[in-house]
């Protein structure tokens, strides 16, 4: 195990140290005293585990492909931009534009998130990204979503409170969003369908949330006590005829 004290270290120097450790085959890295350093884990490959104590700066785990990062505090903005593989676990809250164009791997957040989370997340036949939010989400949750799975739990939300903000799934044309509770149709655009869970959905939830609950030290049974709603793209190709009529 390698321990790095990041207090007062400039982000370029800190990231060079982490990169060098990963290149040398270090499997477990603990970075202490982090506050605001940008770009941690960007483009990193392999199967190392990086634990971060503090609040890391923006653009963490962009283009990452393989490693696991656990943040023992809050995250900022733009985490997991275009991430291809690996996992990011955030024990606190996180900011805006998480998982932008994410195409693989997992992002688990224990707390609440800001605006535009999972914007344009996408999947392929070979891989599918997953984001789980334990708290509530701001507006534009899953905007332009093209693939993958997005789960919103609202674990600490008051009864009857909306878990998501406005423009939920606006422009969605792929993937699935699961919300633990009721969904106000007024928050969604016409292109979003709201449906009930089927066996396939339940299997997806069971697999993903079992892992999430283990990572977050939560009781899976407690999390599953409430019913979920499924949001799906009502049309796969909403503009399919735009240039072809």
């Amino acid at each position: 195990m390698l321990e790095i004290n990041a207090k007062g270290i400039y982000y370029r120097d800190l990231n060079a140290m982490i990169r060098e450790a990963v290149a040398k085959g270090e499997k477990e890295i603990v970075v202490k005293g982090v506050n605001g350093q940008y770009y941690i884990g960007d483009g990193l490959v392999g199967n190392s585990t990086i634990t971060i104590e503090g609040v890391p700066g923006n653009d963490l785990a962009a283009f990452m492909d393989g490693p696991t990062i656990r943040i023992k505090g809050n995250g900022q903005d733009n985490i997991c931009n275009t991430m291809n593989g690996g996992k990011v676990i955030i024990e606190g809250n996180a900011g805006d534009v998480l998982g932008y164009g994410m195409r693989g791997g997992k992002l688990f957040i224990r707390g609440s998130v800001g605006y535009r989370v999972a914007i344009h997340m996408k999947g392929t036949k070979k891989q599918s990204p997953t984001i789980v939010v334990g708290g509530t989400a701001g507006d534009f949750f899953g905007e332009y979503m093209a693939g993958g799975v997005l789960i919103l739990l609202g674990l600490d939300a008051e009864d009857g409170a909306s878990l998501a903000g406005d423009y939920l799934g606006t422009g969605m044309h792929g993937g699935l969003i699961y919300v633990r509770g009721e969904v106000d149709p007024n928050l969604c655009g016409a292109e979003v369908g709201i449906g009930e869970m089927d066996d396939e959905d339940r299997a997806t939830l069971k697999e993903t949330l079992t892992e999430y609950c283990k990572d977050m030290s939560l009781s899976f049974d407690d999390v599953m006590k409430k019913d979920f709603k499924k949001l799906y793209p009502a049309s796969l190709r909403p503009y399919g005829n735009l240039y072809a009529y």
Partner: protein, 359 residues
């Protein structure tokens, strides 16, 4: 084509704090907070505003003026002497900084309008606003960049740390602070274009771009404001002066004019509120700030943070004891307050309004 280049991806950064109990905090805190976000700017502008820094002259307007050269100073001072009692004239204390080889001449005046100049029902605040507009638009090379009481703005072209060192920010003590590092996108990086933008006690720091600048500018010009600083943020400072001081809107109403709720949200409100919001949008359509922004504005009695209606720029708030912090990044707050009691992300268009406790 060479793809192996280092690109700096940045946006402006802002931070602010307020001690509700009017405890005067050293400038070193806000400098530390802003410098953590150094990379959000590109060295083409940084600045600070502070309230409560001139207790010995608190009843006088504190004019901070930048002059392109000493000749301009003579013309501006002639004008000031004819219209104001000048309690004190001094150079704004600065310290030579290697990274700031050139700077305008920076002077500070503590003044009050001459009684016989306040014709009719002109109030001193109105007179000061007209002076700021006149000097900034008619005396070439002279800019009043701060004109409030017991407050001041300090700004210029440079990185946050260099500008702080240059103006000796750490030597000031204030109960409200705002600060900004700039990444100019559409307009020149010059001394007058750095943030904060101020008028009377209003001070604004802003991240984003106000795409309604033209509409806002023409609207303000109808009320005698002259926009001379070549930067969109200037409209926000003057708009607050117009809406709050001159038209008597409350701070929250003014915020609802600047970041008006969408019509579909107005329609979903109760009748009375919907009617009030409809009226506000109709009357102040030209005050709407369109485009992405997060803004902090300081004033004599408090600090306000506000986002555009769909939160296209970051803003985080935190609180500990009697101090409320707001910044572009949580880490900028934690740099000076490692364990806040509460950290939250303000929602789009919903202002965080913090008032000083009554004296």
């Amino acid at each position: 084509m060479n793809h192996d280049y280092q690109k700096d991806i940045s946006g402006c950064g802002l931070t602010g704090l307020i001690s509700k109990k009017r405890r005067r905090v050293s400038g070193s805190s806000i400098v530390k907070s802003l410098c953590l976000m150094n990379d959000r700017g590109n060295g083409l502008g940084a600045g600070y505003a502070a309230y409560g820094i001139y207790p010995d002259f608190k009843d006088f307007y504190a004019f901070h003026i930048m002059y392109d050269d000493a000749g301009v100073r003579f013309s501006a001072e002639e004008y000031l002497k004819n219209n104001y009692h000048i309690e004190k004239i001094e150079e704004i204390p600065t310290c030579p900084v290697k990274a700031i080889p050139i700077s305008p001449l920076l002077m500070r005046y503590f003044v009050s309008p001459l009684k016989d100049r306040l014709v009719g029902d002109t109030r001193p605040d109105d007179f000061v606003v007209s002076t700021v507009m006149k000097v900034n638009s008619e005396i070439e090379g002279a800019y009043i960049f701060s004109s409030g009481k017991n407050m001041g703005a300090f700004k210029g072209v440079g990185n946050p740390c260099d500008i702080a060192e240059f103006f000796k920010i750490e030597e000031y003590e204030g109960w409200t602070w705002t600060a900004h590092t700039r990444f100019p996108t559409n307009t020149p990086g010059w001394w007058g274009g750095a943030h904060p933008f101020t008028l009377l006690d209003w001070s604004i720091v802003h991240n984003g771009e106000i795409s309604s600048y033209g509409i806002n500018k023409r609207y303000l010009e109808m009320y005698g404001y002259k926009l001379t600083l070549l930067t969109d943020t200037e409209v926000a400072a003057y708009m607050l002066d117009l809406l709050i001081r001159r038209h008597g809107l409350s701070i929250s109403m003014a915020c609802q004019a600047l970041a008006a709720p969408f019509w579909k949200n107005i329609d979903s409100k109760e009748t009375d509120e919907a009617e009030a919001l409809t009226a506000l949008r109709q009357i102040y359509g030209s005050a709407l700030l369109n485009g992405p922004f997060s803004i902090l504005f300081g004033h004599a009695n408090g600090l306000v943070g506000i986002n555009d209606r769909i939160k296209l720029r970051p803003l985080v708030a935190a609180a500990k004891d009697d101090v409320v912090y707001m910044a572009s990044e949580e880490s900028a707050i934690r740099a000076i307050c490692p364990s806040p009691e509460k950290v939250w992300s303000p929602r789009a268009g919903e202002p965080v309004v913090v008032e000083l406790e009554k004296k």
